[in-house]
C-alpha cells in the first residue's frame, strides 16, 4: 500500500515539474517582450522612422536609413533567393526522387544548419574581395544564401501536399506538364508558399551576423547596390555595445521597431495559413 502512495506522489511531483518547465520557458519570453516594448516605446516618435542617425548627445534623429536599408537588403535577397529556393523546391517535389534529387535534398538540409556568420564570410569572399568594397549586394546575396535551403525544403513539402488527382486531371485535359506545374500545382500550393516566403523574409530581416562584413553599415541613405548599407539589426548592435546612454535608448527603440516588423510578418504568415487551411477543409 505504501508503495502505491509513493508511486502516486512521484507521479504528481513529475507532473508539477513538467508544468513548471512551461513557466520557466515562458519567463524569458515575457521579460524580453515586456522590456523591448516598455523601454523601446519611450523613444518612439515619427522622426525615428524618417530621420538619419545623429551623433552622440545630439537630440532627435532616427534610424530611417536603417529601416530602408533592411528593406533594400531583404529585397535584394528575395530577388535571388525566391526563384532559386522555390524552383529547387518544385524540382525536389516533382523530379526529386532520383539520385540527384536525394543529393540536393540532403544538401539543402545540411545547408540550413550552417551558421549565418559563415555565410557572411562566403559572401565576403565572393563579392567584397573582388569588388574591393562592402556593398548592399554582398549583404543581399548572403541573406539569399540563407533563404534558399529553407525555402526549398518548405516548398517541396507544400507541393507534395497537392493531391495527385489535380495534376492528373489537368494532364488528362491535354495541358502541358509545365503549365500544369505552374497554373495547377503551384497555384494550389500558393497560399503555403506565400507563408513560407513571409517567414523567410522575417528571418532575413532579423539577421545581423552575415551583414557585419558584407553590407557593413552606413550613416546615410543609400540606394546603390555597390555601396555599404545600413540595416536595422546592425544599427541595434552598434547602439547596444556603445557606451552612451542615449544610444542605448535608441537600441531599445530600434529593437521595438524590428520586433514589430518581424512580428507582423509572422502574424501575416499565420493568418495566411489559417485562411488557406479553412479553405481546404
Amino acid at each position: 500500500m505504501m508503495r502505491l502512495h509513493l508511486r502516486n506522489a512521484v507521479n504528481v511531483a513529475a507532473t508539477i515539474a513538467c508544468g513548471a518547465t512551461v513557466l520557466i520557458a515562458m519567463a524569458p519570453l515575457a521579460s524580453v517582450l515586456w522590456l523591448v516594448v516598455s523601454r523601446g516605446a519611450a523613444g518612439l516618435s515619427l522622426d525615428f522612422f524618417t530621420h538619419l542617425p545623429t551623433p552622440v548627445g545630439e537630440p532627435g534623429g532616427g534610424v530611417g536609413n536603417a529601416i530602408a536599408g533592411t528593406a533594400y537588403l531583404v529585397g535584394l535577397a528575395c530577388l535571388f533567393g525566391l526563384p532559386v529556393g522555390i524552383g529547387a523546391g518544385v524540382y525536389l517535389a516533382e523530379r526529386g526522387d532520383g539520385r540527384l534529387g536525394h543529393a540536393i535534398r540532403f544538401t539543402a538540409e545540411v545547408l540550413s544548419g550552417v551558421p549565418s556568420i559563415v555565410i557572411g564570410i562566403v559572401a565576403y569572399g565572393l563579392l567584397v574581395v573582388p569588388m574591393r568594397r562592402f556593398s548592399a549586394l554582398a549583404g543581399g546575396i548572403a541573406l539569399a544564401i540563407l533563404m534558399v535551403p529553407m525555402l526549398a525544403r518548405t516548398t517541396e513539402e507544400l507541393v507534395r501536399l497537392v493531391p495527385r488527382s489535380l495534376r492528373e486531371a489537368s494532364l488528362a485535359l491535354g495541358v502541358h506538364e509545365w503549365k500544369t506545374s505552374l497554373s495547377v500545382v503551384l497555384r494550389t500550393a500558393l497560399g503555403g508558399i506565400v507563408t513560407a516566403v513571409l517567414l523567410a523574409i522575417s528571418r532575413a530581416a532579423g539577421e545581423t551576423a552575415p551583414l557585419l562584413f558584407t553590407a557593413l553599415n552606413n550613416q546615410y541613405w543609400n540606394a546603390k547596390p555597390d555601396q555599404p548599407t545600413a540595416s536595422l539589426t546592425v544599427q541595434i548592435y552598434n547602439y547596444a555595445i556603445s557606451p552612451y546612454e542615449d544610444w542605448h535608448q535608441k537600441a531599445w527603440t530600434a529593437a521595438l521597431v524590428l520586433l514589430l516588423l518581424v512580428g507582423s510578418l509572422n502574424l501575416a504568415a499565420r493568418l495566411f495559413t489559417r485562411g488557406r487551411l479553412r479553405d481546404a477543409r
Binding site: 507521479n11 513529475a14 507532473t15 513538467c18 508544468g19 518547465t21 512551461v22 520557458a25 519570453l29 521579460s31 524580453v32 523591448v36 532559386v84 522555390i86 524552383g87 529547387a88 518544385v90 524540382y91 523530379r95 540527384l100 534529387g101 540536393i104 545540411v110 545547408l111 544548419g113 550552417v114 551558421p115 549565418s116 556568420i117 559563415v118 555565410i119 564570410i121 565576403y124 569572399g125 565572393l126 574581395v129 544564401i145 534558399v148 495527385r164 492528373e168 494532364l171 485535359l173 491535354g174 495541358v175 502541358h176 506538364e177 509545365w178 522575417s202 532579423g206 545581423t208 551576423a209 557585419l212 541595434i236 548592435y237 547596444a240 555595445i241 542605448h248 537600441a251 520586433l259 518581424v262
Partner: protein, 329 residues
C-alpha cells in the same frame, strides 16, 4: 481551360498510366525548358554548398603558409600584431557555452514537450506552440540587447555571488562576478535553443504509437511511469537528434553571444570569466581585420565552425528521421 493541344496528344492511349513518376505526355519544348529551368535552380543549391567550401578555403588560404592545421587548432595564443593565431580559446569558449546551454535547456524543453503532448489538455497545445514559435522568431540581436542590459546585471548580482557561495568549491564557480562571460553566453544560448529542442521533441513524441502508452497503463503504470518507461525510451533517438539540432544552433549562434561573452582571448576555467566563442570573434574582428593572414585566420575559425556544425547536423537529421521512419514502418 482551352483544349488547344488535344490534336498532338500522341501518348500511349490504350495503356493505363502505370508510371506516375515519369512524364505522362511526350516531352515538348515547353516541358523540356521547364525541366531544364527547374534543374538549374536545384543545381544552384549544390553550387551554393560548393561555393561555401571554396570561398572559406580561399579566404583562409593565406593561413596555410604560416601554420599547420594541428598548430592552428591547438594554439592558445591569438595575437594579430605578432601574426600568431591559435584557435583553441575560441573552440573552448564555443564548447563550454554550448554545454552550459544544453545542460540548462534540455531538461526544460523536454519537460515542456512531455507536458504538452502527454499531460496538458489538447487545447493548451496550440497556445504554447505559438509562444514557442514567438520565442524562436525573436531576432538574435534583440536577445543580445536583452542579455546585455537585463541578464548580465542580474548575473553580476545576485546570481553569480550566490553560485560562488554555494558551489564555490568547484573551480567552475570562482572568481569575480562581472556578469559578462561564459555563463551569460550559455544562459542566453539556452533560451535561444529551447524552441528548437522543444518543437522537435514535440513532433517526435507525437509519433510514439498510442498502444505503447495503453500497454503501460494496462500494466498498472501511473502516467509518469508510462512516460518514463514506455514513451521516452521509444522517443530517445529522436530526442537526442533534437538536442543535437539545438546544439548545432548553439554552436553557430553569433550576435547574442558576442554581446555578452566578454571578449577575452584567453582560456578561463571559471564560468564567470569573460571568453570568446568562434562566431563571436569572427563577428567582432573580421570587419576590422587587416592583412590577408589575419583575415585568413578568422576564416580558418569559420572553417572549424563549419566542419563541426556540418557533422553535427548530419548526425542529428539521421537520428530524427530514424524515429519518423520507424514509426511509419
Amino acid at each position: 481551360m482551352r483544349l488547344e493541344r488535344t490534336a498532338d496528344v500522341t501518348g500511349p492511349v490504350g495503356r493505363a498510366p502505370v508510371a506516375p513518376a515519369g512524364p505522362l505526355l511526350p516531352a515538348n519544348r515547353g516541358d523540356r525548358l521547364f525541366a531544364v529551368g527547374l534543374t538549374i535552380f536545384a543545381g544552384i543549391v549544390l553550387l551554393i554548398a560548393g561555393l561555401i567550401v571554396l570561398m572559406l578555403l580561399r579566404v583562409a588560404h593565406p593561413l596555410s603558409a604560416s601554420t599547420s592545421i594541428a598548430k592552428f587548432i591547438t594554439g592558445t595564443d591569438w595575437d594579430p600584431v605578432q601574426l600568431s593565431f591559435g584557435a583553441l580559446p575560441f573552440i573552448y569558449g564555443t564548447v563550454v557555452t554550448s554545454i552550459v546551454a544544453i545542460v540548462l535547456a534540455v531538461p526544460v524543453s523536454v519537460g515542456l514537450a512531455v507536458f504538452l503532448v502527454e499531460i496538458a489538455p489538447a487545447r493548451v497545445q496550440p497556445i504554447v506552440s505559438f509562444l514557442i514559435e514567438t520565442l524562436a522568431a525573436i531576432p538574435s540581436v534583440v536577445y543580445g540587447l536583452w542579455g546585455l542590459f537585463v541578464l548580465v546585471p542580474l548575473l553580476r548580482s545576485p546570481v553569480e555571488p550566490f553560485l560562488r557561495q554555494v558551489f564555490g568549491f568547484l573551480p567552475l564557480f570562482r572568481g569575480p562576478a562581472i556578469g559578462v562571460g561564459y555563463l551569460a553566453a550559455g544562459l542566453i544560448l539556452a533560451i535561444m535553443i529551447l524552441p528548437t529542442i522543444a518543437s522537435v521533441t514535440i513532433e517526435v513524441l507525437k509519433t510514439v504509437p498510442p498502444p505503447l502508452r495503453e500497454g503501460a497503463y494496462g500494466l498498472g503504470a501511473t502516467r509518469w511511469e508510462a512516460i518514463r518507461m514506455a514513451v521516452l525510451p521509444y522517443a530517445r533517438n529522436g530526442i537526442v537528434g533534437a538536442v543535437l539540432l539545438g546544439l548545432g544552433r548553439a554552436l553557430g549562434e553569433t550576435m547574442a553571444v558576442t554581446m555578452v561573452i566578454g571578449n577575452s582571448h584567453e582560456i578561463h576555467a571559471s564560468l564567470f570569466a569573460p571568453g570568446y566563442s568562434l562566431p563571436a570573434i569572427i563577428a567582432n574582428e573580421f570587419a576590422e581585420a587587416t592583412g590577408p593572414l589575419y583575415v585568413g585566420a578568422l576564416a580558418g575559425l569559420a572553417l572549424v565552425l563549419f566542419g563541426i556544425t556540418i557533422v553535427l547536423n548530419a548526425v542529428a537529421r539521421l537520428l530524427v528521421h530514424g524515429v519518423g521512419s520507424r514509426a511509419s514502418a
